[in-house]
């Protein structure tokens, strides 16, 4: 028996969410009294792989063949399922991100393993295997039992703390036998924003809504975000209007994020918006309307005009930064 964790990499690097997932895998393997096996696909240097040993991985399987640098969901599913069988893994874990969402359901079918996506805690019991996730876009929680012998889970970002546990995992190369012809997904072009903090990775987020009135008023939002090292986000009407890029749209139909700090400026706090941000550890609202629903979701609030409050906040952050 083992817990298999798929450790995705981005240009050869792991992210904090990778280590969260590994820590989570370790916690489950302790409950089940078994080991953690990590699977890495794509070119990742051993030095980077060894970092997984900071969080309790017992064994690392790597596939470094360039052939696997394109994400073909069908091929990846077969590869991960084969490794799961070779390693006799009963629990397979992925991050609840674009890749995890694409692969976990396929794995569930291939392995006939019950799937629970976006889990937020360690199982309350492993026998029966009982996990908790959010439902109704954050308006409730459900406790589920996975009935099958094998299980596939995806873990929500920022829901499990990193737990250091030094191990010295061995690294094994694995060569699945697929050929180029098996890859039906042909990627013609990759467009990546460079140098910009990615919203879903950000620990701090400054977000603007329709209350900002015009795309020309975003200067202070960007300045505040820059000073804090935060990413920028927005409400749906703002991205629908083309005031801000679609990648910034947060909410039920946009990105669901869980940063440590979410500052909502000129956002009313509609239920669909809250669905994307309510897992933030701390929410700050700035709004002219004292009755705006955002204040019910917020931890700290300022009733006031964004155009006056933001410059003052910027000054305060500058002072704070010069003092610290």
């Amino acid at each position: 028996m083992a817990v298999l964790v798929y450790t995705e990499n981005w240009d050869g690097r792991f992210k904090k969410s990778t280590y969260e997932l590994v820590s989570y895998a370790k916690a489950i393997s302790d409950m089940m009294e078994t080991t953690v096996v990590a699977l890495s696909i794509g070119p990742v240097e051993d030095k980077e792989l060894e970092k997984l040993g900071d969080y309790g991985v017992d064994k690392i399987i790597k596939i470094s063949d360039d052939l696997y640098s394109v994400l073909d969901n069908q091929v990846y599913t077969r590869v991960i399922a084969d490794v799961a069988e070779n390693e006799d893994a009963n629990v397979i874990l992925l991050s609840h991100n674009n890749t995890g969402k694409a692969l976990a359901p396929r794995l569930s079918v291939r392995l006939k393993a019950g799937l629970v996506t976006a889990v937020i805690k360690v199982p309350s019991s492993v026998e029966p295997f009982t996990v908790c996730k959010k439902v109704f876009s954050g308006k409730g929680f459900v406790h589920l039992v996975v009935l099958s012998e094998k299980k596939v889970l995806t873990l929500s970002k920022n829901s499990f703390e990193l737990v250091e546990k030094k191990t010295k995992p061995g690294i094994e190369e694995y060569s699945p036998d697929f050929t180029l012809g098996d890859f039906k997904t042909r990627v013609e072009k990759v467009d990546k924003q460079t140098g910009k903090l990615i919203l879903t990775d950000a620990e701090l987020v400054v977000s603007g809504g329709r209350g900002m009135k015009s795309p020309d008023n975003w200067g202070p939002i960007e300045e505040l975000a820059d000073l804090l090292g935060a990413a920028t986000a927005c409400s749906r009407p703002v991205s629908d209007e083309g005031w801000r890029p679609h990648e910034e749209h947060t909410g039920q139909t946009g990105k669901v994020i869980a940063p440590n700090l979410y500052i909502a400026v000129g956002i009313s706090g509609a239920i669909q918006h809250l669905a994307g941000i309510s897992s933030s550890k701390c929410i700050v609202a700035i709004n002219t309307d004292p009755d705006a629903p955002i204040f019910e979701a917020a931890d700290y609030g300022i009733v006031g005009d964004a155009h006056k409050v933001l410059p003052e906040l910027i000054t305060a952050v500058k002072e704070y930064k010069s003092e610290n």
Partner: protein
Amino acid sequence: MKIIVCLGNVPDTTTKIKFTDDNKKFDSDGVQWVINPWDELALTRAMELKEDSNNSVNEITVITVGTLGTEPTIRKALAIGADNAVRIDAEPIDSYFVAFQLAEYLKNEEEDYIVFAGIESSDYNGSAVGSMLAEFLNLSSISAVSSLEMQGDQIKIFREIDGGHEVVSMSAPFVTVVQKGIAIDPRIPAMRGIMMARKKPLNVVAAVECAPLTEMLSFELPQPKPPCKMIDADNAKELIDLLQNEAKIL
């Protein structure tokens, strides 16, 4: 070519969520049911593709696994413009069960087709059915799709990756799991569409035996949040102070 849109029937997004039966069941009393928001966008995009004479989409089928109670939602999809509908008559127990039913129905499909499924359903937030269906049918799947364009038989798909997107080319049949961006404003049925929808075929088929792999035990509501601490607009500095010393974020 045919586009098959998977349709979820979910509570309106503004629904106040309640549970009954000792928190074992979702309380559907007084709930307004709608097409799952992403599926509505998927259907909208399917319509746009069919209307564009540069490509070969000639039919849109919506398909759902649900009991009789889902028919108003299906009729709405027909009123928006789907040509026909399939309802597999069963309570959707879990994603695996739903995807299995869809696959059992679609495995006999002969014409070339593309399946559109939404990235998640706004009730149980599973993010699973579309990709599961692809695995059952042994088809390719592209997930996190924010745009799909067709030129004749050439299909170009934008797939979101962290911090950007990839442009992927595909040929039918395959499954796309779509999200924000696939269409901007969902279409609303017009009077004429509503009249026509009554006459469009809604094919009810029996479900096939399949054991679910998960079971929901109980629900819980989130803890009420402590009241928001208000800070005077003239004292923005205090906020920074609180974030630093009370919330310990900065």
